[in-house]
Amino acid sequence: MPSEYTQETIARLYRSLYFIRRFEERVAAIYPSDAIKSPVHLSIGQEFISVAVCDILRADDVVSGTYRGHAAYLAKGGDPKAMMAEMYGKATGCSAGRGGSMHLIDANANVMGASAVVGTTIPIAAGYALAMKRRKTDRIVAAFFGDGASEEGCFYETLNFAALHKLPILFVCENNFYAIHEPQSKRWATDRFCERVATFGIETRRITSGDLFELRDAVAGMVEKLRRGEGPALIECHAYRWREHVGPNEDFDQGYRPRAEAERWMEMDQVPHLAAMLPEAERAAIEAEAEAAIDAAVAFAEQSPFPEAEELYRHVFA
């Protein structure tokens, strides 16, 4: 990793990375109790992408995640209490219990609402970016989506529009090679993805190493240009989903993908990698702090009330 990374930066990155990993592991641990009656799509193994991207963003920048959006929500500073309460279906949830794991939102942290219909938030993120440009700000939008989402026509329509209007939007494709159980070979004619996006006049970068720092450096350069109004950029970041598509468990026994495929990625796991870069005491402090915050989020979720029946009729219209 590049030498100019200060211990402070590494600590900040580790704090976010460790917190997300442990938060999702806790969700997985709670899941069998049925306290969380919501389809959970864990990002375990892919968190480094959200952490690297969001570390470059400002508080007033906007992030658009997906139904697999726990990492983006937390990395951007979304409230963990409200998130856990949302998964529990409580009135104190970030969507007041109406959205669950697939529809997280935190307006204060500038985390856009997520959608359970793949691809739908890509043009919506561009709409946010258009608003920022019209208002002459230098705020930007980072739009996360999966390799499968890139197959939807609205993705190409959005690329063309965003490039045509030089919108301040960073497209982040988390390429984990699968859409549910379907490998890319059954969905993509070729993997010349970045090359294709570049034909819209969009700067692209493909990160295959799984290295958080390499990704962060690439994002940093792109974000600078985005703020200068040079138009959209796209990063295709390879990663691997360690758990089943939806739910808390591993699924290597299901036969659609071999554990061997995962091992390379598990060895690359950025959590221990960053941990090892920190002095023992600092690492321990960060981890203790994270565990406490997660405990607090779970306690908050458990103690929060369910919404009252009449809540059903609120918020149909603004």
Binding site: G99, G113, I124, A126, G127, L130, A131, M132, F161, V316
Partner: protein, 361 residues
């Protein structure tokens, strides 16, 4: 609120065309609120969507009035995102049929966002679209799809039938904090009404009684309100009094005004500018039946598009739509069940017909 068919509104001596009323409403709101912008295919060309966006580009510039690629789906997402970010987009479609490319964004996101996110965001956008008719518009340029949007909670649906309501509804739609499906009709564009110059809103959820009569309640949606008005003229010849109601907005729907009328007449004819099956006419007929059916005999009938695809040849298209004659005949049959069937004098009927549209356009 007074109606173009009733006394002219205070100071509204000026007659304005529906199409110009739309353009004026948008211009006034763009002037008032710089977050309002207009986009969609061809909004900035010299035809200006048949004139309904005339002058906007010159006055407000290309950042607030711009065309788009042929990408209706993503452009709808862009409108939703800009609205969530606090702007007030008006997305224009030259035909309502093209909204079928935007259903995922309109139904799965725009309609649901405010609720799904617990009130954390609003989607103050207007989706304008025009219903086409005649001159070979045919299967894919003639649909009135309002019932699909009425079906889903979270969308407002507006269908002004005259220039006065067009301006008032457009201003109300732009100021509304919810997604509004704004339905226009090509054949209404040239129709004139007294329209005040100052900005005003037509309140959503208040129907207008266009005519008062005791024999039958007729509800006309969008341009069918005008066709019903012509039918009512024909019915005067045979002394059938029509209580004619234009709902103006379909969501919210002012069912009380309709129910009050039917409570008196016990006869309801709903004429919609779309198919009957699961249409707005089904909803209105059902609500009235639910509320009044228990208290005695109630005559209910619906008219709308023929249960077919819209054909292009005038020889068939003529029979696809309700018209003043067929509406008058149906109303007469309901109002005078005993009597012999009656058809309006063809000569009078011809005069009552909506001016045929002449292409190309």
């Amino acid at each position: 609120m007074s109606s173009p068919n009733g006394a002219a509104p205070a100071g509204a001596t000026r007659q304005l065309r529906y199409v110009d009323a739309l353009a004026e409403a948008v211009a006034q709101e763009m002037q008032r609120d710089e977050d309002v912008f207009v986009f969609g295919l061809d909004v900035d060309d010299h035809r200006a969507i048949q004139g309904s966006t005339r002058g906007l580009l010159e006055r407000f510039g290309p950042e607030r009035v711009f065309t788009t690629p042929l990408s209706e789906d993503a452009m709808t997402g862009v409108a939703i995102g800009a609205a969530m970010a606090g702007m007030r987009p008006i997305h224009v479609h030259i035909r309502m049929d093209f909204l079928l490319l935007c259903m995922n964004q309109l139904i799965n996101m725009a309609a649901k966002a405010h609720y799904m996110y617990g009130g954390a965001v609003k989607v103050p956008m207007v989706a304008r679209s025009m219903i086409g008719k005649s001159w070979g518009q045919g299967a894919q340029h003639s649909q009135g799809l309002h019932s699909m949007f009425m079906h889903v909670p979270g969308l407002k649906v507006v269908a002004p039938s005259n220039a006065y309501d067009a301006k008032g509804c457009m201003i109300a739609a732009i100021r509304d904090d919810n997604p509004v499906i704004f339905m226009e009709h090509r054949l209404l564009y040239p129709t004139e009404a007294p329209v005040p110059e100052a900005p005003y809103t037509v309140e959503f959820g208040r129907a207008r009684r266009m005519l008062e009569g005791g024999d039958i309640t007729v509800v006309g949606v969008s341009n069918m309100a005008i066709e019903c008005l012509r039918a009512a003229e024909l019915l005067r010849e045979v002394d059938v009094g029509v209580d004619l109601i234009d709902p103006i907005t379909l969501v919210p729907l002012d069912i009380d005004t309709i129910v009050d009328s039917v409570a008196r007449t016990r006869r309801l004819l709903v004429v919609d500018n779309s198919w009957i099956n699961c249409g707005a006419s089904a909803e209105i007929a059902s609500q009235v039946s639910e509320r009044l059916g228990g208290s005695g005999p109630l005559l209910v009938r619906r008219m709308g598009f023929a249960p077919t695809t819209c054909p292009t040849t005038p020889a068939l298209e003529r029979h696809f739509y309700p018209n003043p004659s067929t509406i008058a005949e149906a109303a007469y049959a309901m109002a005078r069940p005993g009597g012999a069937a009656w058809s309006p004098d063809p000569e009078h009927a011809r005069l009552a017909y909506q001016a045929q549209f002449k292409g190309p356009f």
